[in-house]
Amino acid sequence: MRVIGCLPQRSVIWRMSTSRVAEFSIALTRYLDGNGAATGPLPGFAAAPADLLPLYRGMLRTRSFDAKAVALQRTGRLGTFASSLGQEAVGVGAASAMAAEDVLLPSFRDQAAQLWRGVTPLELLLYWGGDERGSDFAGPREDFPICVPVASHVPHAAGVALAMKLRGEARAALCLIGDGATSKGDFYEALNIAGVWRLPLVVVVANNQWAISVPRAAQSAGETLAQKAIAAGVPGEQVDGNDVIAVRDGVARALERARSGGGASLIEALTYRLTDHTTADDARRYRDDAEVTPHWHGEPVARLRQYLVANGVWSREDEEHALAGAAGEIEQAAQAFLATGPQPLSAMFDHLFARLPASLRSQRDAALGGEADNG
C-alpha cells in the first residue's frame, strides 16, 4: 500500500524530568517559654542569670519611657508617638548584640534599641515633641535617625554595610523594620543586593502582627516573613521576639557572620503590638480585646522577670527599686524636654545645605521678619 503526498508523521515524546533544585526550612529559636521557664540550655551570655539583669533593666527603661511619652502626648505636651509596648525585647535584644561601632538604622517604633545604643530619653522626647535636634544624637553619632516612610531605610543600611565592606572594616549595619515593611520593594531590593554582595547587614523584622489595621495574614501569604530571605540568597530565621535571650542570640550570630565576611541575614522576631499603632490610632476599630488579651501572656518583660525571680536574682524590692529608678530618669528627661525652648527660626534654613545658597537668603530673612520679602 502506497501513501502518496503524506509526510511521515514524527511523534515527539517530551519526557517529564523534574528535579528539586532548592530546598529551605526556617528555624525558630526560643530559650524561655511564655512562663519564663528555660526550654533548654541557654547561650553563653545568659549562662549566669544575673548577667541578664542589664537586658531586663533595658526593657523596663523602655517601657517606662513609652508610658511617659504616651502620658505627655495625652496631656498635649508631645506630638504623635508610637509606643513599643510588648515588643521591647526586639530592640533590647538586637541592640545589645551590637558593638558600639556597628551602625543602627531604626524605624519609628525602635526606641528600645535607640535607648540601648545611647540615644537619650531627652533626645527622643525632643524628636517626638517636634524638634529636629532630637535626631542629632550625642551618643551614637553614625546611627541613622528613625525611618518613617517604612522600609526605605533598608537600602541605606545596605549602603552603610557596603561602606564598611569597602573599607575592610569588621563592622555591621543593623536595620530594624516591621512586618508591613517586608511587603515593600525597598526591602526586597536591598536584601537582594546584600545577598549578591555579601554585605555585613542584619535586617531584623519586628513582626508585631499588625501594620496599623492590617494583620500579618493579610500582609503576606508566606508562612513566615523570614523565608523572604531565601529568595535573596541570605539566611533567614525566626526568633521568639518576646524572648530577649532568643533575639540577642539570633542577632549576635548574624552580626558575627556579617562582621566576619559571611554576608547578610534576615531575622524575623515574632512579637505582638499590645497597644495602638500610635497615639493617633484607636486599635479598637479593627481588633477587639479577645484578640489582644491572650498576648499579654508571655510578654517580654514579665517573661524575663519570671525567669530572674525563679533563679533568685530578682526580688519584689529589686523591681520596685528599678521601676522607681527608671521612672525617675525618664521624669527628669521629661522635665528637661519641657524646659527646652524651641530652636531659632533660622534653623529651618541653616541645615538645608552645608552653605545657605544666595537664593535662599531672602526667604530666610523674610522668615526672620526682616525687610526682604519672599521674592
Binding site: 549602603g159 537582594n192 541645615h351 545645605f353
Partner: protein
C-alpha cells in the same frame, strides 16, 4: 586640550574626580564592564577597579538608597540611572532621605551624593527613554539640580557637583551626548554651581533655558541677529537653587523674556522663572513672558517627538511676538 563630546567629558570628569578623591565611587546598572549604556563610565572599571566602580543589580530605588547610606558613611557616591524615565523610582529616596538627611539630623549626617541620569528627547529612543522630568524634582528642598548644555560645561559642572557636600541631581541631555565636540581641558577645574551662564549677550530679548534646548536658543539668537535683534542667551545650568538674580538682571535690560524647556508647560520649571519675572521682575517687563516648551502631552514616541520639542522656529516666533509689544 583635546576635543570631547559631552559623554566623553562626563567620563573625563568622573575619572578626574575618582583620581583626586578616593571617596568617590561610581555605581549603577552596567557602569562597570559595559562602561554605561552611553559609555559615560567607559574605562573606569579598568582604571579604578571593582571596589570603586560597582555594577549594581537592577533596582533604581536601591541605587539611590545605597548612595544615601554610602554618603552618610563618608563616601562620595556618583550613581547612574540609565534613563530619566527610570529615575522617577528614585524620587522617594531623593525626597524623603537624600535631600533631608542633613536637615533631619541638624548636620550630624549629610548626603554628598550625585545622581546622574540622561534626560530629554531627540535621539529616537524607545518609550520612557526621552523624559524631561526635572520639574518632578525641583520642588524638593535640599536637592540641587544641575543641567549642562555642552561638553565643557558638563565637565566643569559635574566636577562641582561631585565636590559639593550636598546631594545633586545631574541631568545629562542625551541629545547632546554626541552632538558636538569642543575643547575640554581636563585640568580639574570646576564651574560654579548655583549660577546662570550668559552664553551670548544681547539687549533686546532674553532667551532663558537649560540643557539641550540651549542649542536651539543659540541658533534662534543667531537667526534673530540676522533680523537685527540682539538676543541674550542664558543657560540656567543650576535649576535649584535658582540664580534668579542673573535672569532678573538680564530682563531688567531687555524687558522681554522667552523661557525654553523640553518638559511640559504646566508647572514646568519655566513657571517658576515666569513667577520670578511676574514678581520682582514685573516692572521691567515690556511684554508678556513667553514660554516655549513641550506640550502638555505624554512624551511621544520617535515619529512625533520633534513636534513636541521646542524648535528654533518656535523660539524665534516667540521672540518676535515678544518684540511686537511696547
Amino acid at each position: 586640550m583635546a576635543d570631547a563630546t559631552l559623554v566623553e567629558a562626563i567620563d573625563l570628569a568622573l575619572a578626574r574626580a575618582m583620581q583626586e578623591d578616593a571617596r568617590v565611587l561610581v555605581l549603577g546598572e552596567d557602569v562597570g564592564r559595559d562602561g554605561g549604556v552611553f559609555r559615560a563610565t567607559d574605562g573606569l572599571l579598568a582604571r579604578f577597579g571593582p571596589g570603586r566602580v560597582l555594577d549594581t543589580p537592577l533596582a533604581e530605588g536601591a541605587i539611590a538608597g545605597l548612595s544615601v547610606g554610602l554618603a552618610a558613611q563618608g563616601f562620595r557616591p556618583v550613581a547612574e540611572i540609565q534613563f530619566m524615565g527610570f529615575a522617577y523610582a528614585t524620587i522617594d529616596q531623593m525626597l524623603n532621605h537624600a535631600a533631608r538627611l542633613r536637615t533631619r539630623t541638624r548636620g550630624r549626617l549629610s548626603c554628598p551624593m550625585v545622581l546622574r541620569t540622561p534626560c530629554g528627547g531627540g535621539v529616537h529612543a524607545p518609550e520612557h527613554h526621552s523624559e524631561s522630568g526635572e520639574a518632578c524634582f525641583t520642588n524638593i528642598p535640599g536637592l540641587r539640580i544641575v543641567v549642562p548644555s555642552s561638553p565643557r560645561r558638563g565637565y566643569g559642572l559635574l566636577l562641582a557637583a561631585i565636590r559639593d557636600p550636598d546631594p545633586v541631581l545631574f541631568l545629562e541631555p542625551t541629545r547632546l551626548y554626541r552632538a558636538m565636540r569642543e575643547p575640554v581641558s581636563d585640568d580639574g577645574t570646576a564651574l560654579p554651581l548655583d549660577q546662570c551662564a550668559i552664553l551670548r549677550e544681547g539687549g533686546d530679548v532674553a532667551l532663558v533655558g537649560w540643557g539641550a534646548v540651549v542649542r536651539e536658543m543659540l541658533a534662534a539668537a543667531q537667526q534673530l541677529a540676522e533680523e537685527g535683534v540682539a538676543a541674550e542667551v542664558i543657560d540656567v545650568a543650576t535649576l535649584v537653587p535658582l540664580d534668579a538674580a542673573s535672569i532678573l538682571a538680564s530682563v531688567g535690560t531687555t524687558g522681554r523674556c522667552v523661557i525654553c524647556h523640553e518638559a511640559p508647560l504646566t508647572a514646568g520649571f519655566g513657571a517658576e522663572i515666569a513667577a520670578q519675572l511676574a514678581g520682582p521682575g514685573l516692572l521691567s517687563l515690556l511684554a508678556p513672558v513667553e514660554r516655549v516648551t513641550g506640550w502638555d502631552v505624554v512624551m511621544p514616541l520617535p515619529r512625533l517627538e520633534r513636534h513636541d520639542m521646542p524648535s528654533v522656529a518656535r523660539i524665534v516666533a516667540a521672540a518676535r511676538r515678544s518684540l511686537r509689544h511696547g
